[in-house]
Amino acid sequence: MISREEYLKLPLKERFIKLSNEENDRAERLFRDLVTVDLHTHIFGSIHFSYDYELVRQSGMDCCFEAVPTLSEDFAESMELLGKYKQLVAAEPGLVSATRTDEILQAKQDGKQAVMYQLEPQTIGRKLERIEIAYGLGVRMMLLTFNTKNYLGDGCTAKTDTGLSYLGIEVVGRLNDIGILVDLSHCGIQTTLDAIKFSKGPVLFNHTGACALNPGVARLKNDEQLKALADKGGVVGISAIPNQLSSEPEQGIEDMLNHIDYVKKLIGGDHVAIGLDNIYGDQVGNHREMAASKGTDFAQMTRTFAADYMYGIESPLEWRNIIRGLISRGYSDEEIEKIVGANALRIMKEVVG
C-alpha cells in the first residue's frame, strides 16, 4: 500500500472505481444533473482551521451541511465560528449560505454551491433560548451530544448509557417546533433511541455507518437504532471515516459502499444518504492528534489506526466516485438520486422548510 501523500498524487482516474464506457457516461450525467448533498462536512477544517475553496468547487457537490465544531460546547465560541464561516462563504461568489431547501435548488440552477450550518455538538448548555439565537444566525441542524455526557444525554463513548434528560426532551421539542434538524451521530444508544421516540418529526444520523459491519466501534449505529430512525422517516448519512467503517489495513470506497448496501437492505433506500465528515484534510492525522489529547472526549475511544486513508474517497475531488460506486453495485438511477441528495432534501424540506 502506498502512503497517503503518494496516493493523492495519483491521477483521479486511477483512484476511481472502474466502469465501462457506458457506465462512465451514466455516472457523469447523473453527477451533473442530480442535486448532491453532503450532510456532514468540514470544508473549513475540523480540529484546525483550514480552507481551500478549489477543493470545495472541484468536489462538485451542490450542497453541504457544514459542521461548526465546538467541542468546548461554548456557545459564544460556536457563534463566532459560525460568523467566520458565513463571512468566508459570502466572500466567495461560487458559494452561498442557505437556510431553506429552495435556496439549495436555486444555487444549483445558478451554478453555485450551497452551504448550510450545523452545530457539532450543540452549544446551548442549559439555555433553551440559545436555540432561538442559533436559528436566527442560520443554524439548521444540531448534534445533541458529542462523545461524552452533557446536559442533554450521553455520548457514544460515555461511561454510562442513560437516555435523554428532562432538558434533553425539552430541547428536542423546541428544535422540532422551530425547524432545526436533530442529529444523533455521536449520541449513545439510549439517548439516540429516546430522541427518536420524543421527536415529533424525522431525525438523522448524518455521518455514521452500520455497527453490524464493524462491531467494535461505538460510534456506529446498531440495527435497532437504524430501524427506529427509519420508522420515524429519518435519514442515515453514510460517512467515509477511516478506521470506523472497517478495521482492515486497506480501506476505502468499497467499505463505504458496503455500509450503504447494508443500511439500504435493512431499512430501505429512502433512508440512506451521504455525510462524508472530515474529508477535507488528513482525517487519520486529525484522529491521531485527538486520541493523544487530554480531554475525555477522545480518551475513551478505542481507536486503532489500521489504515492511513480511504482509497477512492479520501479527497473531495473523489465525490463523484460515490456515484460510480453505486453504479458498480447495481443501483438504479432513481435509487442513486435518492442516496446522493433526494433523501437529504426530503427531510430538510419536511423539517427545515
Binding site: S72, E73, G125, R126, K127, T148, K149, N150, Y151, L152, D154, A158, K159, T160, D161, T162, G163, L164, S165, Y166, L167, G168, I169, E170, T296, A299, Q300
Partner: protein, 353 residues
C-alpha cells in the same frame, strides 16, 4: 394546634416556638449549646439583606456556617462574582470572618466571631476542570457535584434517568480530593452518590438531606444504601430543616428533623450525623413555589407544598432549639456535641485541613 400563618408564627416569643423542657434540661441545653462548637453545614445567610439577618444569626449561637454560593444556571464567572461579593461582606463585618480551614472555626469560637466557609451549589466547572483550581484559589472549600438535573458530571436526584458519574465526573472527584475540596452529594442521583462515595479517597458528605426511608416520596432524601456507604467512608449526613422534604404532613417542624436525626444515628452511628439546615433564613416555601416556575420542577424530586413553614426551626434564632430537641430525645452531652458541630469539624479537618 391550629396552623397560624408564618408571619404570625415569627412574632411568637422563642419560648413558645421552642421544645418544652424541664427547667433542669433547659439549663443543660443552654449551657451545652453555648459551650459547644456548632457548625451549620449548609446555609444561605448571605442571600438577601445580610445586615438584617445579623441579630438573628448571633442568637443562633453557631460558630461556623458553610454558605452556599448558589448559581443554579451553573455559570462559573457568575458564581465567582457572587463568591467575591460574599467574601467582601464577611471580611468587612467586625463580627464575622471567612473560613478556609478547620482552624478558622476554632479561632472564631475563641474570639467570639462567626466564621463562614464557602461551597458551590452546584459546582460550576462545566467541562473545565481547571476551574476547580480557580475556585479553590478564590476560597471555595466544598462543591455539590450536581443539582437536581443532569450535568456533565452525572445525574441529579430529580433527573428521569439514574446514570452514575461520567468520566469527567471521575476526574473531578479525583481533582477535588487532591486539592482538599469537600464533595457534597445532597442533590445527586442515587448512582452518582454511590459512585462518588466509592471513588473518593476522602470522606464525602450529603450536607443537607434526610432519610429516604422516612419519606420515600421525596427523591432528594438519601436511601439507606447511600447513607451506609457514606458512613463506611467516614462521611457525614447533615440533616436539613427543609419544609416539605422531611415529611408530607400539613404541620411540620423540629420534630420531623429530630425523627430524621434519630433514624440516621440508629442506621449509621452517632459519628456520621451533623446539621445542615439549608434555606432557613427565608420563607422557604415561597422560594420553592418560585423555583417550581424554573426548569427545576418540584415534581422532578417528588415535592409537594403541604406545610407553610417548619415549627420550631423556621428561623436562625431557633438553632438552639436543635440542642433542646436532642436533649429531649435523650442524647448525651457528648453525642449532642458531635451532632451540632464536632463531626463536621472532624471531617473538615480531615479533608480540607
Amino acid at each position: 394546634m391550629a396552623i397560624i400563618p408564618r408571619e404570625e408564627y415569627l412574632k411568637l416569643s422563642e419560648d413558645k416556638r421552642f421544645i418544652t423542657l424541664s427547667e433542669k434540661d433547659a439549663a443543660r441545653a443552654e449551657a451545652l449549646h453555648k459551650d459547644s462548637l456548632a457548625i451549620d453545614l449548609h446555609t444561605h445567610i448571605l442571600r438577601g439583606e445580610f445586615e438584617e439577618n445579623v441579630p438573628r444569626l448571633k442568637r443562633a449561637q453557631v460558630n461556623g456556617f458553610i454558605e452556599a454560593v448558589a448559581r443554579i444556571n451553573e455559570d462559573f464567572s457568575e458564581s465567582m462574582d457572587l463568591l467575591g461579593e460574599y467574601l467582601e461582606i464577611v471580611e468587612r463585618h467586625p463580627d464575622f470572618m471567612p473560613a478556609f480551614c478547620a482552624q478558622d472555626f476554632v479561632t472564631a469560637k475563641e474570639t467570639g466571631k462567626q466564621a463562614v466557609m464557602f461551597q458551590l451549589e452546584p459546582q460550576t466547572f462545566g467541562r473545565k476542570l481547571e476551574r476547580i483550581e480557580i475556585a479553590y484559589g478564590l476560597g471555595i472549600r466544598m462543591a455539590l457535584l450536581t443539582f437536581n438535573t443532569r450535568t456533565y458530571i452525572g445525574d441529579g436526584c430529580g433527573e428521569r434517568t439514574n446514570g452514575g458519574l461520567s468520566y469527567l465526573g471521575l476526574e473531578a472527584v479525583e481533582r477535588m480530593n487532591d486539592l482538599g475540596m469537600l464533595i457534597d452529594l445532597s442533590h445527586c442521583g442515587e448512582q452518582v452518590s454511590l459512585d462518588a462515595i466509592e471513588l473518593s479517597k476522602d470522606p464525602v458528605m450529603c450536607n443537607h438531606v434526610g432519610a429516604r426511608t422516612l419519606y420515600p416520596q421525596c427523591k432528594r432524601l438519601k436511601s439507606d444504601e447511600v447513607l451506609k456507604a457514606l458512613a463506611d467512608k467516614g462521611g457525614l449526613a447533615g440533616v436539613s430543616a427543609i419544609p416539605n422534604q422531611l415529611s408530607g404532613n400539613e404541620e411540620q417542624g423540629i420534630e420531623d428533623m429530630l425523627n430524621h436525626i434519630d433514624y440516621i444515628v440508629k442506621l449509621i452511628g452517632i459519628d456520621n450525623v451533623a446539621i445542615g439546615l439549608d434555606n432557613v433564613f427565608h420563607d422557604q416555601v415561597a422560594y420553592h413555589k418560585q423555583a417550581d416556575q424554573s426548569i427545576f420542577k418540584l415534581a422532578y424530586i417528588g415535592q409537594e407544598l403541604n406545610a407553610p413553614y417548619m415549627w420550631g426551626i423556621e428561623s436562625p434564632e431557633e438553632w438552639p432549639n436543635i440542642t433542646r430537641g436532642l436533649v429531649s430525645r435523650g442524647y448525651s452531652d457528648e453525642d449532642i456535641r458531635k451532632i451540632i458541630g464536632g463531626n463536621a469539624l472532624r471531617v473538615i479537618q480531615q479533608v480540607v485541613g
